[in-house]
């Protein structure tokens, strides 16, 4: 197993950079946010790279105009500002338009969840899944490692719809071994098979979930882990098949719980099927995180570290 650490954004932008050589119909726009690969892209394609400045609203609007003229557009910014400062631009110009016209704008938001740990609550992004998921006609992609991010490049060009691509801000190890076997359109992948309890996670938290599963296996407890990377559209039926053998599904996310995020997505799927699988939601309660410290510290404070999750699992196993 390769454990090379890499940022999702570098892996993904590298792919777009290569495709821009052969496809003159791609534009890359940024709201003054960078990456090492982007420097190369900027130098090579100065006609199709634009920094709009710190202006997320205009980033979306200009991207819309380019896309209406047939271009494939990537619009790159820090996740909370991209999704929340420019939310109404996304709604009116991407979501509404996409119902009537072909429009391929790919929003790349970097800094999902607590990626920007010490930067505080303005830079934390705990709302994006629920607020973007509620918009019709937009695809929401939330990969857990850079190989999955890389794989999305082709999909992003071929699927001519608006997309919100949420990347973690930190370099993370690869956790997908056989990426060629992954079907993006299924929306999820079973990382570990287990009994009784299945963890369902997205993005960074899938690393935690896999870590907890591998830790508990040594205690003789086998739990399942499902990584959901396409939060919209997720293949509900296939997902339910994957979890229906468990007694309890535990969602883990760096997001506010019971607000429309991953937990709500899973709750809806279980509820629609009158399932009596118990649902436990782990994430953040209805409050911003003002505590200062790195991600591990913030997770510990909120019981989202490996020990906090494992403790919850052991307690549930006792009462199942």
């Amino acid at each position: 197993m390769i454990i090379e650490k890499k940022t999702m954004r570098d892996a993904f932008i590298e792919q777009i950079y290569h495709r821009m050589h052969e496809d003159s119909g791609i534009f890359f726009l940024t709201a003054d946010f960078g990456s090492p690969v982007l420097d190369r892209l900027k130098r090579k394609f100065e006609d199709r790279f634009i920094n709009v400045g710190i202006a997320e609203q205009n980033l979306i609007n200009v991207s819309t105009g380019l896309a209406l003229e047939g271009y494939t557009v990537y619009a790159y910014a820090i996740a909370p500002f991209l999704t929340m400062r420019a939310y109404e631009q996304i709604r009116v110009n991407l979501s509404l338009h996409a119902q009537l016209k072909e429009i391929n704008v790919n929003l790349i938001g970097v800094g999902a969840g607590l990626s920007y740990d010490v930067s505080g609550p303005t830079h934390h992004c705990l709302e994006d899944i629920s607020i973007i998921r509620t918009l019709p006609n937009i695809i929401v992609f939330s990969p857990s490692d850079w190989v999955l991010a890389e794989k999305f490049a082709d999909y992003s060009i071929k699927t001519k719809k608006p997309k919100y691509i949420r990347f973690d801000g930190k370099p993370l190890p690869q956790i997908y071994e056989n990426i060629n076997d992954i079907k993006l359109e299924n929306g999820f992948h079973e990382m570990r098979k287990g009994k009784e309890i299945c963890l369902v996670s997205t993005g960074y938290m899938t690393h935690s979930a896999v870590g907890v599963a591998d830790m508990l296996v040594k205690e003789g407890i086998a739990i399942g882990v499902v990584d959901v990377f396409l939060l919209k559209p997720l293949n509900d039926d296939l997902f339910f098949e994957a979890v229906e053998g468990y007694k309890c599904v535990m969602t883990i996310e760096e997001a506010f719980v019971k607000k429309g995020g991953l937990d709500s997505l899973v709750a809806g799927i279980l509820n629609d099927r009158n399932s009596n699988i118990r649902l436990v939601r782990m994430g953040f309660n209805d409050a911003y995180v003002f505590d200062i410290g790195n991600r591990a510290y913030l997770h510990r404070l909120n019981n989202l570290d490996a020990e906090g999750i494992a403790k919850n699992i052991r307690e549930i196993l006792n009462v199942l």
Binding site: R48, I50, G53, N61, V62, G65, L68, V92, N93, H97
Partner: protein, 277 residues
């Protein structure tokens, strides 16, 4: 450069403007939800662009690449564009009798479900930024089509407008022509009583735009200014400040700071039409 236009031509445009006002009132008669005053201030702008044949367009091939793009950002105030689109053949004239009725595509605030509208409107401050993207795409493809945008002056309070204003001059979008329907009023009051927008032309010049100011109800001034701007590829975006009167043609609206939200009752429409000149 510009061919002299005859007085007959301008008389034709004035007749068209009168006809558009009458048709707009007829729509308002059956669709009281429509914003009348705001739709009346920009009548001459629409007429000059379309009947003056400044805009290149083709109703039978709406998506043709050779069309000029026209973005009507002030959505609410463009009900007066409906009769023009019907007259040009974008849809059947009978549709004008169904505005805001079940099953029609002609709502109280237009969007791109209507043939002839390029974008979704109604939420203000979006059109100019989208137009910048379109203008940039056309320039990268080395095409000569122009992008016209109509905004209301009240819309200039939206910060996204100024993000786009900065962008347009930096990227030398000289195929972009912004027309401001400067009717001097928002919903609740005259702009000068809210946050004074003047001096508008100086603001745009500071952002390195070319500016012109005309009487927005004088078809000859409008025609001359817009055609000049439409042929100028001198490296700068252009703004035409068209000074207009909100509710133009209807005395009861012209003098009312709350004209935006005033309706003319269906039973009064005929007498108001008779008043039009």
């Amino acid at each position: 450069m510009l061919a002299e236009k005859s007085e007959q031509f301008f008389e034709y445009l004035r007749d068209k403007a009168l006809w558009v006002r009458k048709e707009t009132l007829n729509i308002h008669r059956i669709a009281q939800e429509t914003r009348l005053a705001s739709s009346l201030s920009c009548v001459e702008i629409f007429v000059v662009l379309y009947y003056g044949k400044i805009i290149n367009h083709n109703p039978s091939d709406m998506k043709c690449e050779k069309r000029d793009r026209f973005i009507i950002s002030k959505g609410h105030g463009s009900i007066s564009f409906y009769p023009i689109l019907a007259d040009m053949g974008y849809f059947e004239r009978e549709e004008l009798g169904r505005v805001c009725k079940e099953g029609t595509f002609l709502g109280g605030i237009p969007d791109c479900i209507i043939p002839g509208y390029e974008t979704t409107n109604g939420s203000l401050g979006h059109g100019l930024g989208v137009a910048c993207g379109i203008a940039l795409a056309l320039k990268r493809r080395k095409r000569k089509e122009r992008v016209f945008v109509l905004v209301g002056d009240g819309e200039l309070y939206e910060g996204s407008i100024w993000e786009a204003v900065m962008f347009a001059s930096e990227h030398r979008l000289d195929n972009l022509i912004l027309i401001i329907d400067n009717n001097k009023a928002c919903m609740l009051d005259y702009c000068k009583n809210i946050i004074n927008l003047e001096p508008l032309d100086e603001k745009f010049r500071a952002f390195r735009w070319d500016t012109m100011t005309v009487d927005g109800h004088d078809v000859s001034q409008l025609y001359s200014a817009i055609s000049t701007m439409g042929q100028d590829y001198g490296g700068k975006p252009k703004v035409l400040i068209a000074n207009t009167v909100k509710g133009k043609g209807i005395s009861a609206l012209e003098s009312d700071p709350l004209s935006h939200i005033r309706n003319i009752k269906p039973e009064d429409i005929d007498s108001v039409i008779a008043e039009l000149r």
